[in-house]
Symmetry: C2
Subunit: 198 residues, 2 copies
């Protein structure tokens, strides 16, 4: 079994980065050789979350085929949102919460999508189904992704499952969801940090 | 919440019929209003399985929109294998084990595919995940679908998961998998029964 890469969409948000890290962790626990990578620089909110839980940013790639034959997609499925050479590699797994658009495969694959608020909610369910313990830092990051995608469980896409999983992750990470969530969302809209970068 | 229809592909095999019946049962237990239908007459093998477990054949439809706005697909995703008016309804759920080909949606949906031998294997997993008891007759039918799709667990598409789930279903149905399986596969290739029909 050869190594695979897993990544979220271009112009990554927190869910795209975190879901890749979490799914790589899960797949490695299940015996596969999977590395999480990203298709672009993290935004200010994602940097805040990674720093808060002392977790590294995945390295950034543009194309997959120079490194691997097989890939896994999280938080997207549309080819134009993915690596530039998606057509040259085989997609073995997708975990997503978006509509399916222009995604075709030559072979059967594992595809897990739910019409809910966040990919990280689905990945947390998969940890539970597989009875794999979620590390504290990863729980904090997946909670961050849910807070980000659902605007602290207030967006219209939020489901009861997102709420239930968010509470579950907050407990593992020992985080006060409300106060941490406000800090996280503020970091993402912080004009000061943005003008610092420019 | 309005009623939905669930169906397998045109020219149905045993998995297409059985997966629709099983997924309708599961969704109804989860509180939805879902009816299993079929897109064509059952083959001789499917008739044998339905008779053996005294289960009715779903009624046959060609188009969905005259009856419902939303549908669920099992054992297929390619529009040309589906109802003639798939473009006029919303697909809310797919459970499948084939490649994804030409399937696009306007909205997020629940999509569950695995690269394994049979859709009924995946649906059995979903019963287990949701902690819903599988009725004896449905266990026998889902076992029949796995036997049919995997040629008694001997086809190259068969995975350990299919084998494990088949044993689990055989236990619930109290069926000797080998002897029943040979009878089932023979019914599907029975020249006598075929010439009877002609
Ligand atoms: Mn995203
Ligand atoms: Mn997302
Ligand atoms: Mn089939
Ligand atoms: Mn099948």
């Amino acid at each position: 079994m050869s190594k695979e890469l897993v990544f979220g969409h271009q112009k990554p948000d927190t869910d795209a980065i975190v879901a890749a890290k979490a799914f790589a962790y899960l797949q490695n626990k299940l015996g596969k050789d999977v590395e999480a990578v990203a298709l672009g620089e993290p935004n200010a909110e994602t940097v805040f979350a990674l720093n808060h839980f002392a977790e590294p940013m995945p390295r950034i790639i543009k194309a997959a085929k120079p490194e691997v034959d097989e890939v896994m997609l999280v938080d997207h499925n549309e080819p134009q949102q993915s690596v530039s050479d998606l057509a040259d590699v085989t997609v073995t797994d997708v975990v997503d919460h978006h509509r399916i658009n222009g995604f075709n495969t030559a072979q059967p694959l594992n595809y897990r999508a739910e019409a809910i608020g966040c990919t990280s909610t689905i990945i947390t369910e998969m940890f539970i189904e597989e009875k794999i313990d979620i590390p504290v830092q990863l729980a904090g990051l997946m909670l961050s992704a849910i807070i980000s995608d659902t605007l602290l469980l207030k967006s219209p896409t939020t489901t009861d499952k997102d709420r239930e999983i968010a509470r579950f992750l907050a407990q593992i990470a020992d985080i006060d969801m409300e106060s941490y969530g406000i800090d996280l969302l503020k970091a993402g809209t912080d004009l000061a940090s943005k003008s610092d970068k420019e």
